[in-house]
């Protein structure tokens, strides 16, 4: 009995010791995910119709099996290091440089684990720099697939040059951070680098933007004892592996939809090519071609732009309208509250998708109508969220103090109440972008989304669904793209909710 409880105590103690090391955590995570990817690819290689394996795909899955084994061995080495010496030895850390090479097999998880292994004390800046590098590298790799096409966009070389330059720049920034950033102390000379990073965010690299902001904010608050709140939130967010992977996927999609202006050719996605009708997936056409000979892969890349734009717009518009209405009715209460909420009840009674169907059908299919239709339906939810948090805040002491000081209503609302009620709205917004993407593609599938010729994911899926029996991949790939984006947003939202949760502070 005594022996047993002693063993369980030791086990717990060991677990606690290991969980303090992000090197170990990210290594186990990478092992697990790589193994899962291996299983998924192996499953995909099995052809149910003919009951046989596709040999090309099987060999791809074997690469992942090998990666899993190597990563598992490394994880074991890290574990024994920690348990024996209480830290990861520098020899083990050097192995991280070798593991970085696995990024060439498109395995970013091992790359992340390797980056985590290489450096000993990792601040938020180092983490952000890792993801900046990986984002621009991934976008570059995806764009490189264009080389297999018959022709590329005129600006392709320029685009690739910019991407390569950005990747190198971020790698250099990573080295600079290693040298000049220690905990809270950021060298003043990093300031221009911070501004450069913010400018480089035009490529859609959110991590670079955040990195630049963190560096500049830290320099600004150099002598302060208290840490800046949003940086703390960001740090908590980075503790959550899945949330960061979600953010990474969103950033890559955002970045690729912006970079596609340079590196992808729009005509491949929209022009008919009768010599390449309904081709199977190949290197030239990674996801095959549809019934007009258009490259489905390129169409999906361009579709990301529309899906993201519609998803974000249909979240921002109702936040603004619903937020203002909810703030007014929560702050003033009484009659205005009653009138606004009763009117919104009418909107709330109609299911969002039916209302959207009615609006789009009435005014015709266009991107603007679609955004309006989806926005109107979600106004009441935001109004209710904001109203609830404003009601709580309107009676709080700091608002009373502001009133006693003679602050005007609009100042109280915009300066005191809105910043304090932002957290639940941000979380809800991130989670509902995914829902908006789903609704958009559903409406497109019904023929009520954007115009049929536009390469939007729902449209691509609808076109593909007619060839379900002969060419199922035409419907499967755009669906996977939708799932990937929505899943990424959902994980990000979950992570943000945990990071913003005041109970954890």
């Amino acid at each position: 009995m005594n022996n047993n409880s002693n063993a369980s105590y030791l086990k717990r103690e060991r677990k606690r010791k290991l969980s303090r090391f992000t090197e170990y955590k990210s290594a186990t995570f990478a092992t697990g995910i790589t193994f899962a990817i291996f299983l998924v690819i192996l499953f995909g290689a099995f052809d149910f119709a003919t009951q046989s394996f596709n040999m090309g795909t099987v060999s791809a899955s074997l690469i992942y099996l090998v990666s899993t084994v190597i990563q598992a061995l490394l994880t074991f080495k890290i574990k024994s290091d920690i348990l024996k010496k209480g830290e990861v030895s520098s020899a083990t850390r050097k192995l991280g440089f070798i593991m970085l090479l696995f990024v060439l097999t498109a395995n970013i998880f091992i790359a992340i684990a390797a980056f985590n292994l290489i450096k000993k004390d990792k601040g938020i800046e180092y983490n952000l720099a890792i993801y900046s590098v990986l984002t621009s590298f991934t976008v570059m790799m995806i764009s490189l697939l264009n080389l297999f096409k018959e022709y590329v966009a005129n600006t392709f070389m320029l685009g690739m040059g910019v991407l390569a330059g950005l990747t190198i720049f971020y790698a250099v920034v990573m080295l600079l951070i290693h040298k000049f950033v220690h905990g809270k102390n950021v060298d003043k000379h990093m300031k221009p680098i911070g501004y450069l990073l913010i400018v480089s965010a035009i490529s859609g690299n959110v991590f670079a933007l955040l990195l630049g902001l963190v560096i500049i904010t830290k320099i600004k608050h150099a002598g302060d004892e208290i840490s800046v709140e949003w940086i703390e939130v960001l740090r908590r967010l980075f503790r959550n592996n899945m949330a960061i992977i979600g953010m990474f996927v969103v950033t890559v999609l955002l970045s690729i939809s912006l970079c596609s202006y340079l590196t992808f050719d729009y005509s491949i996605a929209t022009d008919n090519n009768y010599s390449a009708l309904l081709l199977e997936p190949s290197l030239e056409y990674p996801f095959g071609t549809d019934d007009y000979g258009r490259c489905v892969f390129t169409r999906i890349v361009f579709g990301a732009r529309i899906s993201l734009a519609v998803g974000i717009a249909t979240t921002v518009v109702p936040i603004i309208i619903g937020g203002v209405l909810g703030a007014i009715s929560g702050f003033y209460g009484g009659k205005s509250d009653n009138i606004i909420m009763r009117l919104l009840d009418v909107l709330y009674a109609v299911p969002g998708i039916l209302l959207a169907i009615a609006i789009v059908a009435a005014f015709g299919t266009s991107t603007f109508n679609l955004i309006m239709a989806l926005s109107i339906g979600s106004i009441p939810t935001y109004a209710r969220t904001v109203r609830a948090s404003v009601l709580g805040l309107a009676n709080s002491e700091f608002v009373e103090a502001a009133k006693a000081c003679g602050a005007k209503d609009h100042i109280i609302i915009f300066k005191h109440i809105i910043p304090n009620s932002l957290a639940p709205i941000i979380v809800r917004a991130t989670l509902s972008i995914g829902g908006a993407v789903l609704s958009t593609s559903s409406l497109s599938y019904l023929g009520l989304g954007v115009e049929p010729h536009v390469p939007e994911w729902g449209n691509i899926l609808k076109a593909g669904s007619t060839y379900l029996e002969t060419n199922p991949y035409l419907a499967i790939y755009p669906g996977l793209a939708i799932i990937l984006l929505v899943l990424a947003f959902n994980y990000m939202g979950d992570g943000l909710r945990d990071a913003l949760d005041p109970k954890l502070k």
């Binding site: 009840d345 039916l354 789903l438």
Partner: protein
């Protein structure tokens, strides 16, 4: 019995909206009461002695020296105030005089209310008071009950908190439905598309179009047509559809059961899957099972319904030939795939909600107490934890149920189900205003009722809400 009734009358009279309803429903009773009220009021004016009593009270105050004391007190108060603020506003003596008169009047009024003579003779005459007096008379009571029965029904409803709550919600729902009709009709009215051209075809002559518009009332102005729509809502007769000329209510009530059947099937699938997995995840948080299940749940939230439907059809209908791809009312196996597709998103959100609300409850003190008492863990989880975690779960189920009724349009299209969602979508392109309007109203009614049921369920699940309801 009578006392209880007058009590309720007192309470109900304080609510302006209820007062209006009461007037409308009990018009005869109020008419009689009003006549009596007017008669009493005029006779009251003749024998009014209030001013005399006031003069007497004033004299008493003067005699006892209270008046002088009040004056001194007021003066001292104002002097202190002046000394503190070091500011003069107007003539000081005049201010004192004004303030003193105000205080004196207040005192006199207070004494008046306490005065024995005043209390005996002069009660203020109100319509409600007169009516209550009259109702003490049995003959009038019988007359009143016969002539204005609806008013007594309202009183009865008001006396029971649950009935009152449900009644208020139903009244609100009727207003909301009018709002829905207005909203949807206006949207469809503003549509630039012309139903006549869409149904008769591009080759239709001008006369045909004019005739079509005349038959369906499309040549009427906006207000008239909106009023027609409202009338349709009240009389439950929404007219005939433009395409096919069928009675809309009949068509919808034929299609609605199909949608309802699919919805309930998916609800069953979702609850069977979601609640046990949510409980297990919460009991063993951060275990492998938890991670895997929550991953699957989030995946379920992220999969587009129609895509899942297509993949299922591809695998189970086209490749494996296990299940039929299209729905038919007589074959229950056709219901399996739509139920799974619709149930996926629902079970994902229910499982997540079950997990998070169970986790919240499981760390409470009373759970520790229950465990310390030596209850089996099964009993603790199922009775103490799950019972208290049920409210958010019920909310999510209720909300999602409504969403599914409206949002199943896409799934219905995929599986070729002849339900209300695909009916609305089909007629949307014309736009067939009566059909779309009725369909949306129908769905809204069902959703509102579902929400009402959820809210009432709360009261049964949560003793805190139950006790609050008693004082509603």
């Amino acid at each position: 019995m009578k006392k209880k009734m007058t009590n309720i009358l007192d309470r109900i009279f304080k609510k302006p909206l209820y007062r209006v309803f009461l007037f409308l429903l009990g018009l005869p009773t109020f008419l009689v009461s009003f006549i009596v009220y007017c008669a009493r009021k005029s006779s009251y004016a003749k024998t009014d002695k209030t001013s005399e009593i006031r003069a007497r009270i004033l004299a008493e105050l003067e005699k006892s020296g209270e008046k002088q004391a009040l004056y001194n007190e007021t003066r001292m108060f104002l002097e202190n105030k002046r000394a503190f603020f070091k500011k003069e506003s107007g003539d000081f003596e005049k201010n004192v005089q004004r303030e003193f008169e105000k205080e004196l009047n207040k005192l006199v009024e207070r004494r008046l209310q306490e005065d024995e003579e005043y209390k005996k003779n002069y009660r203020p005459i109100t319509l409600l008071g007169v009516m209550k007096d009259l109702l003490q008379n049995n003959a009038f009571l019988v007359f009143s009950i016969i002539t204005s029965l609806p008013m007594y029904l309202l009183l009865l409803i008001y006396s029971n908190p649950y009935a009152k709550y449900i009644f208020e919600r139903l009244v609100m729902m009727i207003f909301v439905l009018f709002g829905v009709v207005f909203l949807v009709f206006t949207i469809l009215y503003m549509s630039p598309m012309d139903p006549a051209v869409n149904i008769l075809g591009q080759t239709a002559t001008q006369e045909q179009i004019v005739e079509f518009n005349r038959v369906y009332g499309l040549d009427q102005p906006y207000i008239v047509r909106l009023f027609e729509a409202f009338k349709g809502l009240v009389t439950l007769d929404m007219g005939r559809s433009y395409a096919g000329n069928e009675v809309v209510m009949e068509a919808i009530s034929r299609k609605f059961p199909v949608t309802l059947q699919v919805t309930f099937a998916s609800l069953a699938v979702a609850l069977i899957l979601a609640i046990p997995s949510g409980i297990i995840s919460a009991v063993k948080p951060y275990s492998t099972f938890d991670y895997v299940f929550m991953l699957i749940a989030l995946l379920g939230l992220s999969i587009p319904n129609f895509w899942l439907g297509l993949v299922l059809i591809l695998n189970f209908s086209i490749n494996l030939h296990w299940l039929p791809a299209t729905y038919s009312a007589t074959d229950w196996t056709t219901l399996i795939m739509p139920a799974i597709v619709l149930g996926t998103a629902l079970s994902a959100s229910v499982a997540r909600m079950t997990r998070s609300s169970m986790l919240e409850v499981i760390n409470q003190d009373y759970i520790t107490t229950a465990k310390a008492k030596g209850l089996s863990s099964k009993r603790v989880i199922l009775k103490h934890a799950l019972g208290n975690a049920m409210i958010p779960i019920v909310t999510v189920v209720g909300l999602q149920f409504g969403g599914m009724l409206g949002g199943s349009a896409v799934t219905e299209k995929v599986f070729n189900i002849n339900g209300i969602g695909s009916y609305i979508v089909d007629k949307q392109f014309i736009p067939d205003i009566p059909v779309v309007l009725t369909g949306v109203v129908y769905v809204s009614v069902v959703i509102s009722l579902a929400n009402l049921v959820v809210d009432i369920l709360y009261a049964f699940l949560d003793p805190r809400i139950k006790s609050k309801m008693k004082n509603y």
